[in-house]
């Protein structure tokens, strides 16, 4: 079983994530889609790490996880605040700034 499959899988996951960002309204879900994209990247990284026979990729993956975690903290905070104000987490409701 070649590594290509992993890459393809990762690519698919990334795409799913991206599409999810486009189609889902709930900020939390949108954010989760982004997380999905990040994790697909992680998969890609470790695959390449194996392919290149170096551990760099795996190390990077750890970094990514950490960063992602940080992102979650920030993100949830922001989303919470707006949710408490508007009683809704729909990204489409945040639409005062335009044109």
């Amino acid at each position: 079983m070649t590594l290509t499959n992993y890459l393809v899988l990762a690519a698919i996951l990334f795409t799913i994530g991206a599409v999810g960002v486009l189609v889902r309204r709930n900020a939390i879900v949108v954010f989760m889609c982004i997380e999905l994209m990040l994790n697909s990247v992680n998969l890609t990284l470790v695959t390449f790490a194996r392919a290149n026979g170096s551990v760099d990729g795996q190390v990077i993956a750890f970094f990514v996880m950490v960063v992602a975690a940080a992102e979650v903290v920030i993100g949830l905070a922001i989303i919470m605040s707006i949710y408490r104000t508007r009683r809704s987490a729909s990204v489409d409701d945040a639409n005062l700034l335009k044109y």
């Binding site: 949108v30 982004i34 890609t44 990284l45 392919a51 990077i60 970094f63 993100g75 922001i78 989303i79």
Partner: protein, 511 residues
């Protein structure tokens, strides 16, 4: 026994300074009593940024790769770090302004309280201020300075996040018009995260293609075994991620919303510093990592530049909000900056120094412009509606004069820094034979001239609007900012010689 990687602390002083200040700031935030926080935090932030600025000057001329090859401390890097630190210091001063808002701060008293709630309303006029914004901003500054020194895609990514995450937060901390502010934060955050996902995927692909994330090693592998699809895709995604930060069309969509919604001092900070940082990274990526394969990305950047200029100039024409207008102007300027990037030729052209100079000039001018915006206020905060500025020249000739001067600089009229910068980048572009791009840029800057002019017309030639805004009397910090920016804009326009030479000498990229 593994020996630690070489670490030239001297070369890292600027970074250490800033990050140090930020960390101390966190401690202060958590342990110092409330009444001393504000002054302490401001002092700390200033010490950090100014210290960073000074230390870059002290180690100017260094050119080395350190931290195990993760960081490149070179002329361009230091110049950009200095620029960022300096501009950041000015922005911090804007943060610290207490004279304008009756509540003595542009930032919300308690971000956790829902906007519009009774509690929020009573806090609105409360003089109590949250000071977390200072360490956050300082962290962002650190991230930016790291960004421009990154010699390694991973470091670049980390830096990207370090500069972004605090920004996401402080965008949402406006005291007034909190709904807009929070919306700006959400949009910035989601889109930013989205963009960094692209960047990251690009990183992964490049890593896969070259087996390394070290810029220098990527360069070697590019020159030895050429550019495969994987690599090119990776490059593309990396570019997307960076262009987003630099608010280059078509990745600019967040810019107007965020610039408008964020607290004006923060907008100034982003407009000036983020752009510098992003372009620093772009330069590194394109010339250090992919300089030998510039034929791959040159047409792309060429196109993006034109798109960005046109979008910025044309969309700016019909804006009705000053901050939004300046946002579109910053998109157009991103396009002009890209002509400088094109002008780098095979890394030999005068484009690098031109871009460095342009970034400095633009940053100063734009901070000044936003500073003026903070002055013009009405009942509920800043009066950013264009119509409210009608006849401002009668109310406050000085303010109008300063704004006009800065706008002329943005429009690139001679004897202002804007003109010198434009001249430099266009010259670079024409030198490498990209004259159609230059001509396009010039035409678009003529178009863009219209909306700068529109504000001038309003301020000078229109009768003052009834119940128009009042011009607040700036406190010391804003006064300093205005003085510095205006003076710099003038000096860089009239006698730019020394600074241009500096940029010339600084124009080296190692890695």
């Amino acid at each position: 026994m593994i020996e630690a990687p070489d670490l030239s602390l001297a070369a890292l002083t600027p970074l250490l300074f800033v990050f140090g200040a930020a960390l101390v700031g966190v401690l202060v935030e958590s342990f110092a009593p409330r009444h001393v926080r504000q002054p302490t935090q401001v002092a700390l932030a200033l010490v950090g940024t100014v210290g960073g600025f000074v230390s870059t000057l002290l180690i100017a001329g260094r050119s080395e790769v350190t931290a195990g090859g993760a960081l490149a401390v070179d002329g361009a890097g230091l110049f950009l770090q200095a620029t960022i630190a300096g501009l950041a210091a000015l922005s911090i001063l804007l943060f610290a302004e207490r004279g304008l808002d009756p509540a003595k701060s542009a930032f919300v008293a308690s971000a956790a309280v829902p906007a519009g709630s009774p509690r929020d309303r009573e806090l609105l006029t409360d003089e109590r201020v949250q000071t977390e914004v200072y360490p956050l901003a300082t962290f962002a500054v650190g991230g930016m300075m790291l960004f421009v020194a990154a010699n390694d895609l991973l470091v670049m990514f980390i830096a990207l996040e370090v500069l972004s995450l605090p920004l996401y937060l402080i965008c949402g901390l406006a005291r007034r018009r909190r709904l807009l502010s929070q919306e700006a934060a959400v949009k910035y955050f989601l889109l930013g995260a989205f963009a960094s996902a692209f960047f990251l995927y690009g990183l992964a692909l490049v890593y896969g293609a070259t087996g390394s994330i070290r810029l220098s090693e990527i360069r070697e592998s590019v020159s030895t075994d050429g550019t495969g699809t994987l690599l090119v895709l990776g490059l593309g995604l990396l570019i997307v991620g960076l262009m987003f930060k630099a608010s280059v069309a078509p990745f600019h969509t967040w810019t107007p919303d965020v610039y408008q919604g964020a607290p004006t001092p923060v907008t100034a900070f982003m407009a000036a510093c983020t752009k510098v940082a992003a372009f620093g990274a772009i330069l590194r990526l394109l010339y250090v990592a992919f300089g030998t394969a510039d034929w791959t990305w040159r047409p792309l950047v060429y196109g993006i530049a034109i798109v960005s200029m046109v979008v910025g100039a044309v969309l700016g024409l019909t804006q009705t909000d000053v901050k939004r207008m300046l946002a579109y102007s910053s998109i157009a300027h991103a396009g002009f900056l890209l002509t400088g990037v094109i002008g780098l030729g095979g890394g030999t052209g005068s484009g690098l120094s031109a871009t460095l100079f342009y970034l400095l000039a633009y940053g100063l001018t734009t901070i000044g412009a936003f500073a003026v915006v903070t002055l013009v206020r009405d009942g509920d905060g800043e009066a950013t509606q264009l119509s409210q500025w009608a006849g401002l020249a009668r109310r406050s000739p000085l303010t109008a004069g300063v704004m006009t001067f800065l706008l002329l600089a943005l429009a690139g009229i001679p004897l202002t820094s804007g003109f010198t910068g434009k001249f430099a980048v266009f010259r670079a572009a024409i030198e490498v034979g990209a004259w159609p791009l230059a001509v396009g840029a010039l035409v678009t800057s003529a178009i863009a001239g219209f909306f700068y002019l529109r504000l001038v017309v309003l301020m000078y030639f229109s009768a003052p609007a009834e119940d128009g805004p009042s011009v607040g009397v700036p406190g010391l910090p804003t006064t300093i900012v205005l003085a510095v920016t205006v003076a710099a804009t003038l000096v860089l326009g009239v006698v730019p010689g020394s600074v241009l030479d500096l940029a010339d000498r600084a124009a080296t990229l190692v890695g």
